[in-house]
C-alpha cells in the first residue's frame, strides 16, 4: 500500500494546470507523429526528444509519457486504415483491423483499439507501480557481476531470440557496441576510436544515434523505394462501439493484457510474441464458440493484440525503472532522454530519484486517460494525416531529424554524424539488420564496460569473479537457454496453428504490397 501513497504523491506533483497542459501537448504530438505513415513510436519519441530540451525533468517526462502512448495509439490507426503496420507490434492489429475497416467497421476497430489500449495501459501501469519498486529494492543489492550478467541477458535475448536471423541481430549489436566505444575511456581518459577528433572524444550523443538510425535511415530507405501510386485510405467516422462489440471485446482486452505485461516486464523484450499469442488465442476461442469471423474482420482480433501491445509497452517500464535496462527501441530512446538529464539509469534510480519516477508513473496513467478522451473524437481528423503528400511528409521528417540532432549541442558536426548514421540506417534496412540491437549496444555497451571493470576490480582480476554470485550463474544459464532454444525449436516442426496464422499474415502482406 506504500506504493499507492507514493503514487498519490506522484499525482500530487503532476496534477497542476501547467503539467496537464504538457500532458495534453504530449498526447497530441505523439498521436500526430505516430499517425504519420512511416513513423513508429520509437521514431516518434526520438524525433520529439528535442521538444523537451528546455524543460525541467518532471514536465519533460509528463510530455514523454503522452508522446509514448500517443505514438503507439497513432500506430494502430495506420495499421487499421492503411493495412500497413508501422512496426512489428502492430502486425496483428492490421490483420483483422483492416478487414473490419474494409467491411465498413473502421469506427468500431478504432474504438476497440483505443479502449483496449487504455485498459491495458492502465492495468499495466498499475502493475508496474507494484512490481517495479519490489524488483528495484532487490536489484539495488545485486553486485556488479550479476548486473553485468543481466545486461548480457538483455542483449542476447533482444538480439537472438527476437530476430529472424541471429547473425544479422549480432551484426547490428556489435555495430552498436562499436559506436558505444567511441569517446574517452571512462577510467584512463584516453580517447578511443576518435580519429583525433575532439568532438568525437566527447562520445556520440545517443539522441543523434537514435534520430539518425530511426528517422533519417527510414526516410532515406523510403526515398529509395518510394511508392509512386497514391495510397488508399479507408474513410472513418467517429469511433464508437455498440453493446455487442463491447461484449465481444472485454475478454480479449483482459486476456491480451495478461499476455502482454509479462513479456514486457521480463527482459525478453518485444510485443511481437504476446500480440501473436493473443491473436491465436482469440482465434481459437472464437472457433470454439462457433462464431469464427477471423479472416473477415473479427473485432476480437483487434481488441486482444492491441491490448497485448499496450500492456507489453507498460511492462517495459519494469526493467527500465528497476534495472535501467531498455528492452524495446522506444524504451531505449526514453533511457537516452533520462541520460540527457544527467540521470544515471540503474537499480538505484528509484531510490535516487523517487519524485521523478513516481511522477512519471502518475503521468503515464494521466496520459493514457487523456489519450482516450482527446483522441476518440479526433480520429477522423487524424485519419486525414494519412493523405499528406509523401515528398512533403519525408521532407518534414528530414527537417525535424536535423533540428533534433542539431539542437542537442548546436554543433554542425552532429549534423554530419547524423548524415553518416542515416546512411548506416539505410544500409541496415537494405541488408535487413534489425535496428533495436544496435541502439541497445550503443546504450548498454558503455554501462556494461563499467560493470565489468568493477566486477573484475572486486575479484582482483580473477575472471571467475564474473560468476562469483549465484544470481549471475542463474542468469548465464538463462542466456545459454535463450541462445539454444531457437536453434532447437527451428529443428522441430512449427505448430499447425502457427502455420495457419503465418499463412494469413502472408496473404495480408501480399495484399498490402499491392
Amino acid at each position: 500500500m506504500e506504493n499507492l501513497s507514493l503514487l498519490m504523491d506522484g499525482f500530487g506533483s503532476v496534477l497542476t494546470p501547467q503539467n496537464l497542459l504538457f500532458a495534453a501537448i504530449g498526447v497530441l504530438l505523439g498521436t500526430f507523429v505516430g499517425v504519420l505513415p512511416g513513423i513508429g513510436p520509437a521514431m516518434a519519441v526520438a524525433l520529439l526528444l528535442p521538444v523537451t530540451y528546455g524543460l525541467d525533468p518532471i514536465p519533460a517526462f509528463i510530455m514523454f509519457a503522452g508522446i509514448y502512448y500517443g505514438g503507439m495509439y497513432g500506430g494502430s490507426t495506420t495499421a487499421i486504415l492503411l493495412n500497413t503496420p508501422g512496426e512489428s507490434a502492430s502486425v496483428m492489429t492490421a490483420l483483422e483491423g483492416n478487414l473490419m475497416a474494409r467491411a465498413g467497421r473502421a469506427a468500431q476497430a478504432l474504438a476497440t483499439a483505443a479502449i483496449g489500449s487504455f485498459i491495458a495501459g492502465t492495468i499495466g501501469t498499475m502493475l508496474v507501480v507494484f512490481f517495479a519498486p519490489a524488483l528495484a529494492s532487490v536489484a539495488v543489492a545485486i553486485g556488479a557481476p550479476s548486473y553485468f550478467a543481466l545486461m548480457v541477458l538483455a542483449m542476447v535475448s533482444v538480439t537472438s531470440v527476437l530476430g529472424g536471423s541471429p547473425l544479422r541481430g549480432f551484426i547490428a549489436l556489435f555495430l552498436g557496441l562499436t559506436i558505444g566505444l567511441v569517446g574517452l575511456d571512462l577510467n584512463t581518459g584516453q580517447p578511443r576510436l576518435s580519429f583525433d577528433q575532439p568532438l568525437l572524444a566527447d562520445r556520440i550523443d545517443v539522441v543523434v544515434v537514435a534520430v539518425g538510425i530511426f528517422a533519417l535511415g527510414e526516410a532515406l530507405w523510403v526515398a529509395a523505394h518510394l511508392r509512386r501510386s497514391p495510397v488508399r485510405v479507408i474513410p472513418v467516422g467517429r469511433p464508437w462501439m455498440d453493446r455487442a462489440d463491447l461484449r465481444r471485446s472485454w475478454g480479449p482486452w483482459l486476456r491480451g493484457t495478461a499476455y502482454g505485461f509479462p513479456f514486457g516486464a521480463v527482459p525478453a523484450g518485444g510485443a511481437e510474441i504476446p500480440t501473436f499469442l493473443s491473436y491465436i488465442t482469440e482465434k481459437r476461442l472464437a472457433a470454439r464458440k462457433g462464431r469464427d469471423e477471423f479472416g473477415r474482420g473479427a473485432i476480437e482480433g483487434v481488441a486482444g493484440p492491441e491490448a497485448a501491445n499496450n500492456a507489453s509497452a507498460a511492462g517495459t517500464f519494469v526493467p527500465l525503472l528497476a534495472l535501467g535496462l531498455p528492452v524495446t527501441a522506444t524504451s531505449a530512446v526514453m533511457l537516452a532522454a533520462l541520460q540527457g538529464y544527467g540521470i544515471e539509469p540503474g537499480p538505484s534510480l528509484m531510490t535516487d530519484q523517487p519524485e521523478l519516477v513516481w511522477a512519471l508513473l502518475a503521468s503515464l496513467l494521466i496520459g493514457n486517460a487523456l489519450l482516450l478522451v482527446l483522441n476518440l473524437p479526433l480520429a477522423p481528423l487524424w485519419a486525414k494525416l494519412l493523405r499528406i503528400p509523401r515528398p512533403q511528409l519525408y521532407a518534414g521528417i528530414l527537417f525535424f531529424a536535423a533540428l533534433g540532432a542539431y539542437a542537442t549541442n548546436l554543433q554542425a558536426f552532429d549534423l554530419f554524424l547524423l548524415v553518416l548514421l542515416g546512411l548506416l540506417g539505410l544500409a541496415m534496412r537494405r541488408f535487413a539488420l534489425p535496428v533495436l540491437p544496435l541502439i541497445l549496444g550503443v546504450i548498454l555497451g558503455p554501462l556494461m564496460e563499467v560493470q565489468l571493470r568493477q566486477a573484475m576490480a572486486i575479484s582482483g582480476g580473477e575472471v571467475s569473479g564474473l560468476w562469483s554470485e549465484p544470481l549471475a550463474v542463474v542468469i548465464y544459464v538463462v542466456v545459454a537457454l535463450a541462445v539454444l532454444a531457437p536453434i532447437v525449436l527451428r529443428r522441430v516442426r512449427p505448430a499447425p496453428a502457427a502455420v495457419a496464422v503465418d499463412q494469413d499474415v502472408r496473404e495480408k502482406e501480399e495484399e498490402g504490397v499491392r
Binding site: 512511416g38 547473425l167 551484426i171 584512463t188 578511443r192 532515406l220 495510397v231 515528398p391 542515416g422
Partner: protein
C-alpha cells in the same frame, strides 16, 4: 523482429531485390566493411596505454568487440556465398518491387550536406527552409514555391519556438538581429 513476416524468405519483399536469384553479392561489401571496422577497432585498442589498478583496462572491450565484429563479417561472407539473402524491410510507403532509386538518396544526402556546411553562417531559419524545400524537391515534389513557403514557415516557427519556449538558441546566422 520475430514477426511471422520475417520468417519467410519468399514474401514479396525479398523477391523484389534485383540481385541475382539466390545470392546477394552486395552483402559481401557489408561483410568487408565489418571486417575493416572490427580490425580497426582492434588496432585502435593496441594504441592505448594501460592504467594502474584496473585489471580489465581500456583495451579488453575493444579487443573483444573488434574480434567478434571481424568474425561476424567472415560469417556473413560465408552465409552470402551459401545463398543467404536479406529480406529488405517493407513499410507503409515502400514499394520493393521497383529497383532502388539511389539518385533520390544521393540528392537527399547532398541537401543534408548543404545543411551541415551552411548552418553556422546562414543560420537555422534559412538553412532549415532550404533543407525542407530541397528534400521535397529531391523526393519528386514539383510545387517549389509552396515548398519554400512551407519550409520558411517551419524553420522560422521552430527557431522562435526553441528560442522562446525552450531557451535553446538556434543560430540566427546572417539574419542575426532580424529574427
Amino acid at each position: 523482429m520475430s514477426t511471422p513476416l520475417d520468417t519467410h524468405p519468399d514474401t514479396p519483399g525479398a523477391a523484389a531485390e534485383p540481385a541475382a536469384p539466390g545470392r546477394d553479392l552486395a552483402q559481401l561489401g557489408l561483410a568487408g566493411a565489418l571486417v575493416l571496422v572490427g580490425a580497426y577497432t582492434f588496432y585502435d585498442a593496441t594504441t592505448l596505454r594501460i592504467g594502474f589498478g584496473d585489471p580489465v583496462g581500456p583495451r579488453v572491450f575493444p579487443y573483444v568487440i573488434g574480434t567478434v565484429t571481424v568474425l561476424l563479417g567472415v560469417l556473413l561472407a560465408l552465409a552470402t556465398l551459401r545463398g543467404d539473402v536479406p529480406e529488405a524491410e517493407g513499410g507503409e510507403d515502400v514499394d520493393l518491387r521497383q529497383p532502388a532509386d539511389w539518385l533520390t538518396v544521393l540528392k537527399l544526402v547532398g541537401v543534408l550536406m548543404v545543411t551541415v556546411l551552411t548552418i553556422s553562417f546562414l543560420g537555422w531559419a534559412i538553412t532549415g527552409a532550404i533543407l525542407f524545400a530541397g528534400s521535397a524537391w529531391s523526393l519528386g515534389s514539383r510545387t517549389l514555391v509552396r515548398d519554400v513557403i512551407v519550409g520558411v514557415v517551419l524553420s522560422v516557427t521552430s527557431w522562435y519556438a526553441f528560442h522562446e519556449g525552450l531557451g535553446v538558441i538556434l543560430p540566427a546566422g546572417i539574419l542575426d538581429g532580424v529574427l
